[in-house]
């Protein structure tokens, strides 16, 4: 049976209360970690093979090991937590902050100990005001309880730019500059915030750390789909499903299980058309590919990624050109403008998709659309350009007939009857929390 890791205890307790969190073993791991050498903490994370939950899947312990020692670089070390969750389809970090803020704070303090940092910055998406308030209260309580020790934790609210969720854009923004990504190398580990060694991790990654220590790295590594996709993820299930929401599940569960066993299937008996497994920037899967386990290697074999584990379910009402347009418009709007292919390419993609949707495009422009995607892909300063090009190209490749129909018929074949209802739209989090621990095959 699967058990909750990150959200453990939150199903029947209000863990935003410090006392409640302590009652389920909260901050015990912090105390333990502080008694350990930083290297032992990192070793534990390596044993667990904990990977970054923000989308890049980079081993967390290894990232920490990249931080040079003070003897190597005489500068302060910083921990930055990326809580600027903005990828359409993701809403997991929000739930973590809402329900287990202390687990996130405990993770921050353990990470600070592991890399010998005195300062932690949590960069929170500007729109997450309620989460900011909750986290602030939790931080005040933790501080009052003397849990912070010598560590300073700063909460910083973003100002509404998707690019500030890209780690180097986040650092620029945190420094008070225009939110634009930096050229790497140097990587944040050696020159991050204020040109100092910086560990930057996603909320979910950091919030997992206390539980890794609690279970022990080896035990944690048995969860999920070892050897690489260990542990659980908060899958953000949204789109055309009966019960959307966050589901904390072991990696390796199939999309079919998620949709039909947990999320109640497609509403009103409609047909499944496609699934995006990791958030709006990930290549799409067709309905016949949903038996793929949600873990890194299996998805990689299908040319897509788990990303931020946002499973977006698309039913047969969706016009794929319109969907591509919606995705492209988002990335055009959020392109920071620093590098050429992303700045110019995303705008061109939108123009091409608009022409296709309006039935004014030619077949050669379909090829041009693919070529523009290809010319963006892998040539940008940061992953934002890829985030636009990858999904759009995958829609064309997987649903070429539908794109061709737009050209051939000189109009959208749905004739106005299509719907993108609920796609990339947030699932209402406040009515219910369908966090399930039961009934899931491990």
């Amino acid at each position: 049976m699967a058990e909750l890791i990150v959200l453990a205890g939150a199903q029947d307790r209000d863990l935003t209360q410090l006392a409640e969190y302590r009652a389920v073993g909260g901050y015990v791991q912090l105390e333990r970690a502080r008694a350990l050498a930083p290297t032992s903490v990192i070793e534990e994370l390596n044993t667990a093979n904990l990977r970054g939950r923000g989308g890049a899947f980079f081993p967390t312990g290894k990232k920490m090991q990249f931080i040079p020692s003070r003897e190597q670089i005489d500068k302060p070390h910083y921990v930055c937590v990326n809580a600027d969750e903005s990828e359409p389809g993701t809403f997991k970090d929000r739930e973590i902050m809402q329900r287990v803020p202390h687990r996130l704070l405990e993770g921050c303090l353990i990470a600070a100990h592991a890399i010998d940092a005195q300062h932690v910055f949590i960069y929170i998406r500007g729109e997450y005001l309620a989460e900011f308030e909750l986290l602030k209260t939790a931080l005040d309580d933790a501080r009052e309880a003397g849990l912070l020790g010598e560590t300073v934790i700063v909460l910083h609210r973003g100002a509404g730019a998707y690019i500030c969720g890209e780690e180097s854009g986040l650092l620029e923004s945190l420094e008070g500059k225009r939110g634009q990504p930096r050229s790497r190398p140097p990587f944040p580990a050696s020159s991050g915030l204020y040109a100092s060694p910086t560990l930057i991790n996603n909320v979910e990654t950091i919030a997992t750390i206390p539980k890794v220590l609690e279970l022990g790295g080896a035990e944690y590594a048995r969860l999920g789909a070892p050897p690489d996709s260990t542990g659980t993820r908060l899958f953000c299930v949204s789109g055309n499903v009966v019960k959307g929401g966050n589901y904390e599940l072991p990696m390796g569960i199939t999309i079919r299980e998620v949709i039909y066993d947990l999320a109640g299937g497609i509403p009103e008996g409609r047909e499944l058309k496609a699934v995006i497994p990791g958030g709006s920037s990930m290549p799409i899967l067709s309905a016949d590919q949903i038996d793929v386990p949600l873990e890194h290697d299996a998805l990689r074999a299908l040319d897509t990624f788990l990303g931020a584990a946002a499973v977006i379910v698309i039913d047969d009402r969706a016009c794929m050109v319109q969907l591509g347009l919606r995705v492209a418009q988002f990335y055009m709007h959020e392109s920071c403008g620093k590098c050429t292919p992303c700045r110019e390419g995303t705008r061109w993609l939108v123009q091409l998709l608009e022409a296709i949707e309006a039935g004014q495009a030619t077949h050669s422009q379909l090829e041009l659309l693919l070529d523009v995607c290809d010319r963006i892909l892998g040539k940008c300063l940061c992953p934002l350009g890829d985030a636009a090009a990858m999904p759009v190209a995958s829609y064309v490749v997987k649903f070429r007939e539908e794109f061709r129909a737009h050209v051939d018929q000189g109009r959208c074949p749905f004739g106005g009857a299509s719907s993108l209802e609920g796609l990339f739209a947030p699932v209402d989090q406040h009515g219910q929390h369908p966090v399930l621990a039961e009934g899931v095959p491990a």
Partner: protein, 739 residues
């Protein structure tokens, strides 16, 4: 030179050895291979990798194109550029296609056309035709981001060179990118004009026709311009410039990077100041004062006869007031004529200069490598030697400590008391750090006599002569004051007789004509011969006026503040013969042998004072002469300490703004840069007087009363009132201020 480890890098199958860490763009260039760039410009700081023009394939790195500009040479690196890699070729082609998607392609009416990197790289690497069939992004254009620079946002490719210059070179932070994504654009805050000493550099940095100087707008095609390599003559730095002229007229001035001196930057005065050549009131013919009729033009032949008559009539009682803007040859010629031909030896030199600092000589670039710089004096460095200010900023960015000691400095002393402060400095903690540092620099940035000797004494005391990384710079007021003084001295060993009634005053140049002391001397002279470019200066009080020429119209040499002898080349045809030409003619009438050719005069002068160096030795980019041996000099007497302002008065600090003087006053595009009629007050004095910035104030001293606007300057020492020379007029000593 550097002993850095050499590494071998293979680029397109060519092997090249470079010091480890050399930028990949430079490494490829060493192998004779181009990695094309737009945003990459090492002088702007770390590479940003924004434009994606430099994409290359690197073995062993992820199988996607890498931004070459952000990489550096490592042992065994194997790189393929567009020449040999399809991946790189198509990536570069893609970048250009994307750049051109929204570019207006208006090359036929763009001033950049013909020297445009975007045009050139498109020919070499770009697509031959467009696949873009939709509406292009448009913006309002052109936007005058200042009277001197216009911005075309449609042509802009957002390489961020201009904003990086503004942020990390001139550090004025005025040019920024606003909006996001495809709607990003370059702007100034609230559309205020882009103001400051260095704004024009962005027109040279811009790799497209987005930022263009307004002066030659629509008048130039780059291939029709002729470029003359010379040096700027508007301040003592002597930046190396290329003067672009067409049909004998200067159209624009570009930098000609001398890495030790200016690093390829120019100030706006040097860049845009040239149009004073074409001022309305430029004197083009000799003028003579005729009783009751005023001035009348006369022929050159008559003018020279008249000059000869005035020279003879003075019977040796002649004084020459020099400007410091004369070439060495021109000053030497004048000196030979007056001193040898007429046995008159009195001169009013523009300012005290001396050879004492030659023992602490270094290129200006040495400031960059310093760890500690102390700037002494009343004036900000940028007002006197703007490029030195950029070197200071660069040093600070590299971690150097810059200490300013003066009425605007970190260590505040009263105006005019720098010499006293020097002696205190010697005994201070800062002094002992200067003494122990191997990389310390002293800069004297202020007026008043004796600066050079005080500075030399201080540097000597601190042991700078024995430390090659330590140097001392005096920032004089005039472009060639030192060369002029040396040339004057070289013409004769005789001394001038004093105290006789003055027969003839020769006013050489516009700076001398503008000097109130020279004006006072003219009152005592029986007659006045002025050499000046403009009507308004000396014409009213001269008997004979001969047209002057500009540094852009002369051949010859200048000595800059480092002691570097640099060549001026004639870039524009003057409207009248240049000074040396007619001085030589007059000299012949007094049996003085003087060539009209600057090269021959230089040889003669060089034998006497420059150790015999030749024009060829100077070359296009002159080297700095070796340091002279250190000889302790007698301490020069202190200037009298200005009395502290009595009562409620404030001590007046007059200064010459960078954007002032005869040339600047005649350049329409620079008017907005001139300081407004204002009085700068310290925050303390402003609050005591209850005044705020912008408020009109009555400013009085000894019977003079002016109305000036208040400007609160938080860096200014309390008790001081700072006013630009041109607005201070007859104010002096202590001023009373009231709303």
């Amino acid at each position: 030179m550097s002993t850095a480890e050499l590494v071998t890098v293979t680029i397109d199958e060519r092997s090249v050895q470079v010091p480890k860490g050399t930028g990949l763009v430079e490494t490829a260039a060493m192998a004779g291979i181009e990695i094309p760039v737009f945003c990459y410009e090492p002088r702007l700081g770390a590479a940003v990798g924004a434009c994606r023009m430099c994409l290359v394939e690197v073995e062993g790195m992820p199988p996607k194109p890498q931004a070459g500009c952000t990489l550096s040479a490592q042992e065994g690196m194997v790189v393929k550029t567009a020449r040999t890699s399809e991946l790189a070729r198509s990536a570069q082609n893609a970048t250009l296609e994307f750049i051109l998607v929204n570019h207006p392609l208006d090359c036929p009416v763009c001033d950049k056309g013909g020297e445009c990197p975007l045009q050139d790289l498109t020919f070499r690497y770009g697509p031959g035709r467009t696949r873009m069939t939709f509406e292009k992004r448009t913006f309002e254009k052109p936007i005058p981001i200042s009277p001197a620079i216009s911005l075309d946002r449609e042509r802009c490719i957002l390489c961020y060179r201009c904003t990086r210059f503004s942020e990390s070179v001139s550090e004025d932070g005025q040019l920024v990118a606003v909006n996001r994504g495809a709607q990003s654009l370059i702007a100034t805050f609230e559309d205020e004009p882009y103001t400051g000493p260095f704004t024009g550099n962005v027109t040279e940095l811009c790799p497209v026709g987005a930022l263009l100087p307004t002066q030659p707008r629509f008048e130039i095609r780059p291939w029709e311009l002729q470029s003359v390599p010379t040096v700027c003559g508007l301040c003592p730095v002597g930046c190396n410039i290329d003067v672009n002229q067409r049909e004998g007229k200067v159209k624009r001035i570009l930098s000609r990077n001398h890495p030790e001196l200016d690093e390829g930057w120019l100030c706006d005065k040097g860049r845009f100041g040239f149009s004073h050549l074409y001022a309305q009131d430029r004197i083009t013919d000799p003028l003579r004062r005729v009783r009751r009729r005023g001035l009348e033009e006369l022929s050159w032949a008559d003018a020279l006869d008249e000059a000869e008559r005035l020279l003879r009539a003075a019977e040796g009682r002649i004084a020459v007031a020099l400007s410091g803007s004369e070439t060495n040859e021109h000053a030497y010629g004048l000196a030979k004529l007056i001193r040898r031909g007429l046995a008159s030896h009195s001169a009013v030199l523009p300012e005290e200069t001396g050879a004492g600092l030659d023992a602490f000589r270094a290129p200006l670039a040495a400031i960059r490598d310093a760890e500690l710089v102390v700037v002494l004096g009343d004036d900000p460095v940028a007002e006197r030697a703007p490029i030195a200010d950029l070197w200071l900023r660069k040093a600070r960015r590299a971690g150097a400590e810059i200490v300013e000691l003066g009425p605007l400095g970190d260590l505040q002393v009263a105006p005019g008391t720098t010499a006293q402060a020097c002696r205190k400095l010697l005994r201070s903690e800062l002094g002992s750090r200067l003494r122990t540092s191997e990389r310390a620099i002293l800069i004297w940035s202020g007026g008043g006599a004796g600066g050079g000797s005080h500075l030399a004494a201080l540097a000597g005391e601190l042991g700078f002569a024995a430390k090659p990384g330590c140097a001392a710079f005096l920032l004089p007021e005039t472009a060639n004051g030192r060369g002029v003084a040396e040339a004057w001295a070289a013409a004769s060993d005789e001394e001038g007789a004093e105290d006789q009634p003055l027969g003839l005053l020769i006013v050489s140049g516009d700076e001398a004509a503008a000097n109130p002391n020279v004006r006072a001397l003219a009152e005592r002279a029986e007659s006045v011969l002025a050499i000046t470019m403009f009507h308004t200066l000396a014409v009213g009080w001269s008997d004979l006026v001969l047209p002057g020429t500009s540094y852009l119209e002369r051949d010859g040499t200048y000595v800059n503040l480092e002691g570097r002898i640099q060549r001026l080349r004639r870039a524009a045809i003057p409207p009248a013969p240049d000074e040396l030409a007619w001085i030589a003619e007059l000299a012949a009438r007094f049996q003085v042998e003087l060539s009209p050719h600057p090269s021959l005069v230089f040889s003669e002068l060089s034998e006497r004072v420059f150790g015999g160096v030749t024009y060829e030795d100077l070359g296009e980019q002159a080297r700095l002469p070796e340091r002279a041996p250190f000889a302790a000099t007698a301490e020069s007497p202190d200037e009298p300490v200005p009395a502290e302002a009595a009562g409620g008065g404030l001590q007046l600090l007059r200064y010459r703004p960078l954007f002032s003087g005869a040339a600047v006053e005649r350049v329409p595009e620079l008017q907005f840069q001139r300081p407004p009629p204002q009085i700068e007050l310290s925050a303390e004095d402003a609050s005591r007087l209850g005044v705020s910035s912008g408020q009109p104030l009555s400013v009085r001293s000894n019977g003079t009363s002016l109305e000036l606007k208040a400007a609160v300057n938080r860096h200014l020492r309390p008790g001081t009132a700072r006013i630009a020379e041109e607005h201070a007029r007859r104010l002096h000593g202590s001023v009373e201020v009231s709303p």
